[in-house]
């Protein structure tokens, strides 16, 4: 560390704890309490980055979140590489490794800087005007080069192993910003016993107080400021009703007083605990909000204002007083505001030679000027800057009198230039909340006006700058917020809005400051930068207006001013000033680009939180899941469920396994886990009426103990869901739905019941997870069950499509005689927790009958052989019951049911609608591809109109050939015709057939 640049004492650092770190591979040391920026400055390093477009050498401009220049990447390891961090926000830790960005081969020597020489030819928006010929060259030649030149840091390429946490919180008063106003607000609110949360983006509370010279610090409540800060923070910290969140940025203000906070937990630690999340995102619902977000110092726009060593006066003060760093040895101060003077005097006292202070203001009545002169600092008024010198560090500045121009110009050697154009209140969050901003001529800034949420602003963020005034403002806001939050009746718009608007803030101490570009008399040389990071100059803004862009939003988008990673925190108001000047319109008429979340960039991981892998979405498994897993089942995702798709034996691949499983069911019996099917218990004296109105079927005639295939439409007439429905008792239906459809069917039922038919005495209860469902299917199914159940399984006693209540191995059961396979079949419903035991019992009993477990893929083939549809595969939301060949299900004598009226619309009755048919390839071994298009003729050339498409296609082992279902225009009338399925290789002839390929008479079903 360069001892000369670190003060002997003072600051909020611990000189006794040295920290080693590296920048671009070079080793340095800093001390505890440093940021990367302060540590580099203490080592005499000013060159910290390169600008986005021209690759100009850049040093730190500011000392906080608004920093546009000093962007670095911090690398912990290959997977923990974080680009685009502001060196001013990176807390130093032992071993920190930082790298500069957007330069090659090195920061000091960057070939990209050639862009700087081409600057005259690549003004704002140049890319809209060229790179158009030859047409294809854009993509293969120009764009790749532009992309390579653009971008800042590199993205990490390995998965981020760090953890991110989430937290919901609620409070009476949330205070954003722990500067003097925020702390006073928190203290006042807490005093009233309210639930208070206080967050600040910095690692310690204090805000502007942290930049004050402790020795010169003002007294607060009779105590020296540092002591007040210490004691106030401690008191808040020990209050159980108060939550303090340092290193926490309030990044977004959402409707109904919900604020998003990002807490950084581990980036500042050398060796964080592995369980410690890197960041935690808070969603805070606050009854009242107090914004005490302070203000951001405004730079001045003059030629050559971007060289390393040129920085904001307040930043320099912070380097000195908070970090004990001398940012230079010989300084020139350029200012439009009094705040630069104390900075100059304090730096001078610390040993920095202040060559002169150039005040752009005309008046010279300020006591500050007098104090400066008294301290031997020449003060130049009505001054301006013609240019600066130096490449990687400023080495001179050319000052002139406004009138004089080049004539009276004096070049002054210097290695530090301080500038201060006044202060821009941080109204970002207030604006995000949709509060109205109003322009304050006196302050040359936008201030919070009428709020749209329950929010107050206090202190510098509403133009109240003086310390005592800010403290009082904060205390008042905190007390009022607590009062409102705990008031019984909370109506009407937050009163402080009016207050904020009406009670004009006290005249800015130190004057208005300056928004725009300094007047440039003849002799001005060099570009004057408005947006440092994006390299937007006064010339670019002039060009945009010249080309007819008048809206500030257009100018922003055309020049990219304010669109860099700092989102224009230091540049927006100057840009507005310049545009208003060229257009001759006052700033409020030029308008203000809207503030959007986030206030400062927030990690994607912070938003994603713990939702990754298994926690990305719940993994729903059935009671029998473990059994299937142990048997090596291959699972598929169906909604949130994991369903066994097939049970391979050894190295068996899917087709072999499915073929084997299919034959087992056809020839002996199979066991299948159907637990995921949706189940809804419809109960009440009007249950049958409800079912009649909802489903297409007629239910009145369904006897207790019998089942019926139920078909559900949306009111637009298209098939929505289906499933077997059993009448368990007179007023109780056991309704089943598709696996994916369960929640939406129940929601639809509740909708009609509650909002259309609220007179019906019927209630709906989801029983999907109450029942484990074991399907036993196949000619041997009866034999398997016989020994276990207390029910007569004879066809006469329990025919196809019936249900019986009884017990299996002592466990209560609803036994369905139903089949989705076309075989003799049963579905054993038992309370879910008994599922595994009952499954095992059936498995054991099945051993004597070659029972085989099968999965969803096999189930799909078996049902396709029977022409049973799967809603969502053979239908797609544009299919009517008749299209699907399910017209028979419709209760003919019902006056109405959901969807009935829509079925009468012209387009729904056309004979040319696509109808479900079977498709048989001439070559029985060819299996069509799902979704393949069915054409009337062979050799149709694109664009051609298809007759339809293949919805389901499999190889059928039992039939020893391929089978397919498809939706084909006028399909049923085409049975027997030959059509062609178009595939890249050519056309596959298919014969249109009945969709029922196996046991069309259903003998096996009724066995």
């Amino acid at each position: 560390m360069n001892e000369g640049l670190r003060t002997r004492e003072g600051g909020r650092i611990d000189r006794s704890r040295g920290l080693h770190f590296s920048f671009d591979g070079r080793a340095y040391t800093g001390v505890a309490g440093d940021t990367l920026a302060s540590a580099l400055l203490a080592n005499g390093v000013h060159l910290m980055g390169r600008s986005f477009k021209y690759h100009r050498p850049r040093g730190v401009l500011a000392c906080g979140a608004e920093e546009p220049n000093a962007l670095v990447a911090v690398r912990r390891d290959a997977a923990r590489y974080t680009p685009n961090l502001r060196a001013t926000q990176v807390e130093l830790y032992e071993g920190l490794a930082a790298h500069s960005q957007n330069r090659w081969p090195s920061l000091a020597f960057d070939l990209g800087a050639v862009n700087d020489l081409l600057a005259p030819f690549i003004p704002a928006g140049f890319y809209y005007k060229t790179f158009m010929w030859p047409r294809r060259a854009w993509q293969w030649l120009y764009e790749p080069r532009i992309r390579a030149a653009a971008g800042l840091g590199r993205a990490p390429t390995e998965a981020d192993p760090d953890r991110y946490a989430s937290r919901y919180a609620h409070c009476d008063v949330l205070i954003v910003g722990a500067g003097p106003a925020g702390l006073a607000a928190a203290a006042a609110a807490a005093a009233s016993g309210a639930r208070v949360m206080l967050c600040d983006e910095q690692n310690e509370f204090g805000g502007s107080l942290l930049a004050d010279d402790p020795r010169a610090a003002a007294a607060i409540e009779g105590r020296p400021a540092p002591q007040w800060l210490r004691e106030t923070s401690a008191a808040l910290g020990s209050n159980a009703r108060v939550t303090l969140l340092p290193r926490t940025t309030a990044f977004g203000y959402f409707p109904h007083n919900l604020l998003g906070l990002n807490e950084r937990l581990s980036d500042h630690l050398a060796d964080p605990h592995p369980d410690l999340p890197r960041e935690r995102q808070w969603q805070v619902r606050a009854r009242e909000v107090v914004l005490a977000t302070g203000a951001i110092e405004r730079p001045l726009v003059f030629p050559g204002n971007d060289r390393p060593g040129i920085m904001l006066a307040g930043a320099a003060r912070t380097w000195l007083n908070r970090y004990g760093v001398l940012p230079g040895t010989r300084a020139v101060v350029v200012t439009a505001h009094d705040e630069a003077y104390p900075a100059a005097l304090e730096l001078q006292a610390a040993g920095v030679f202040i060559a002169s202070i150039a005040d752009v203001r005309a008046r010279d009545d300020g006591s500050w000027a007098a104090r400066a002169r008294a301290a031997g600092i020449p003060v130049l008024t009505r001054a301006t800057v013609l240019g600066t010198g130096g490449r990687r560090r400023v080495n001179s500045i050319l000052l002139a009198q406004l009138e004089g121009g080049e004539a009276g110009a004096q070049a002054q050697p210097c290695d530090l230039v301080l500038m201060c154009g006044g202060f821009t209140p941080s109204v970002h969050l207030f604006s995000q909340s949709r509060g109205k901003l109003c322009w304050d001529e006196g302050l040359q800034a936008f201030l919070p006006g009428t709020p749209a949420e329950r929010v107050r602003s206090a202190g510098a963020c509403r133009g109240v700058f003086a310390l005592d005034a800010a403290l009082a403002d904060g205390a008042a806001a905190g007390a009022a917020a607590a009062r409102e939050a705990t008031a019984p009746a909370r109506t009407g718009v937050c009163p402080s809005g009016a207050a904020a608007a009406a009670a004009a803030p006290p005249a800015a101490g130190g004057g208005a400051g300056f928004a725009g570009a300094l007047p440039q008399p003849a002799g001005a040389r060099g570009r004057a930068f408005v947006d440092w990071q994006n390299d937007v100059t006064t010339g670019d803004l002039a060009l945009a207006t010249r080309e007819g862009f008048r809206s500030i939003e257009h100018i922003k988008r055309y020049t990219t001013t304010g669109m860099a990673t700092d989102q224009g925190k230091t540049s927006n108001l100057n840009a507005l000033g310049i545009v208003s000047c060229t257009l001759g319109k006052p700033i409020p008429e030029v308008g203000l680009t809207s503030f959007r979340m986030p206030y400062t960039p927030v990690s994607f991981g912070s938003f994603a939180g713990p939702a990754r892998g298994e926690l990305f979405d719940p993994v729903r498994t059935t009671p029998m899941h473990e059994w299937a897993r142990a048997r090596g089942a291959v699972f598929e995702d169906v909604g949130l469920w994991k369903r066994a798709r097939y049970f391979p034996r050894g190295a068996e691949h899917m087709h072999a396994a499915v073929g084997r499983e299919c034959l087992a069911v056809r020839n002996a019996c199979g066991i299948f886990d159907a637990s995921t099917l949706g189940k809804i218990e419809v109960v009440g004296k009007d249950a049958v009426t409800f079912m009649n109105r909802l489903y297409v079927n007629a239910w009145t005639g369904l006897a207790v103990g019998r089942c019926r295939y139920g078909l559900l439409l949306r009111d637009d007439g298209f098939v929505y869901d289906d499933g077997v429905v059993a009448r368990v008792s007179e007023n109780r239906f056991h309704v089943t739905t598709t696996t994916g459809g369960a929640p939406r069917v129940l929601a639809m039922m509740e909708d009609y019941l509650q909002t259309e038919w609220s007179d019906l005495k019927v209630w709906l209860t989801s029983t999907t997870e109450q029942w484990a469902v074991v399907a036993v299917q196949g000619p041997k199914a009866r034999a398997v069950l016989a020994g276990l159940v207390d029910i007569d399984l004879a066809a006469a006693a329990l025919p196809h499509m019936s249900v019986a209540l009884g017990r299996i191995s002592g466990v209560p059961m609803r036994l369905f005689r139903v089949s989705f396979t076309g075989e003799l079949g049963f579905e054993v419903n038992v309370p879910a927790d008994f599922g595994p035991a009952v499954w095992e019992a059936l498995w054991d009993a099945g051993q004597a009958h070659d029972i085989t477990p099968y999965g969803t893929e096999t189930m799909h083939v078996l049902r396709a052989e029977k022409g049973y549809i799967i809603v969502g595969q053979d239908t797609d939301g544009t299919v009517t019951p008749d299209d699907a060949g399910l017209g028979w299900a419709i209760g003919k004598n019902k006056p109405d049911f959901v969807g009935k009226r829509s079925l009468e619309r012209p387009a729904m009755t056309s004979p040319q609608r696509r109808q479900l048919v079977g498709l048989l390839t001439t070559d029985p071994q060819v299996v069509l591809e799902d979704g393949a298009q069915v054409m009337a003729q062979a050799g149709a050339r694109a664009p051609a109109r298809a007759l339809g498409h293949v919805t389901s296609s499999y190889h059928s082992s039992v039939l020893g050939r391929s089978i397919a279902l498809g939706l084909v225009a006028g399909g049923r009338a085409r049975i027997g015709e030959t059509l062609y399925v178009s595939v890249p290789a050519g056309d596959i002839p298919v014969q249109v057939a009945s969709p029922v390929f196996y046991d069309p008479q259903g003998r096996r079903l009724h066995a």
């Binding site: 060229t130 971008g151 991981g605 892998g613 979405d617």
Partner: protein, 416 residues
Amino acid sequence: MQPFSGLALLRRGLSGQRGWTTQWRSPPPKAAYDALIVGGGGHGLGAAYYLASEHHLTNIAVLEKGWIGGGNTGRNTTIIRSNYLFDESAALYDHAVRLWERLSQVLNYNVMFSQRGVMMLAHTVHDAQVFKRHVHANRVNGVDNEWLTPEQAKAFCPLLNTGNIRYPVLGAALQRRGGTARHDAVAWGYARAADALGVDIIENCEVTGIRRNASGAVEGVETTRGTIRAPRIGVAAAGHTSVIMKMAGIELPLESYPLQALVSEPVKPVFPCVVMSNTIHAYISQSDKGELVIGAGTDAYTSYTQRGGLHITSHALEAICELFPMFRRLRMLRNWGGIVDVTPDRSPIIARTPVPGLYVNCGWGTGGFKATPGSAHVFAWTIARDEPHPLNAPFTLERFRDGQLIDEAAAAAVAH
């Protein structure tokens, strides 16, 4: 119109780029025009351009309540593709892609159309079936779209997490002709070209009423800048269409929802294409500037606030981080909301209306940007000839009455 070219940049560079003049004028509205377009987004400006360039209707104006391109044109994720399922949709969107391919040259304005390929991920067996149906249907329609295995998908986008992931990638549908374009440039390019043909582009001019004559036909509009007469009015106001059309007494099957998008801080080129996953709602590409451009979902409720909920953003980033776990450390720079007008079948309405002389182009939902040139082109035809172009003939208002829906959403479970 000052021609744009590299040479012009060089020449003017020698004189400090001072020679450039306005890209489009800012004329006061005339008392009357032959036709008016309400809505200065890409669809409206484009329609004006094609009315002037192909139908020789040059005494026309575009009325924009704010600044042109300030609506969804400037708020979307710029994804362009045409691999839609139904013949009608595929034809319309592919018409747009073909116009996109020459738009920079036609407008002499670099709209940066980049055919980087749009890859849509399949995470379930059902997804795979749906996407394969798309691939087949598109091939028959002459629209490029191909099925990729998980390995091929990974090869096309190497950062893709095909390993430890909640919903494994089972494959993908890739349209190589799909890609992205520079949204602002589309609005500005159409504006400049239309202006050069004499079209008046009138910003800060909000329509407050629609005037109709005794026979019920339109005869002009009331605006914040006075009455403007015109016998033909085309409305292309996206999320605000319902509001405008009510002024003519027309109720539409439309609902306006907030749709959010966001960008990361710019990084060096890392993402080569466009990746979409409708199953877990992730839409991502990288802009020329280096920002990752990410689409989030719509909120559940209708709104005109151009602002959505935090949980919608979080949901989108959960999906992005699951597919691209190396992006967790990248940071969101800016988030914004648009207002999308959605029809019951998720397909647009480009048609005449029951009011003579009044035409509407709306209902693009979340997919309007990709269609801009095609939509504008057929809308201009419809206005100029008072009859639909064959490509937009199916996209009528009446289809909802007759049940002749073009239900991309239902049929494909694919978001646009």
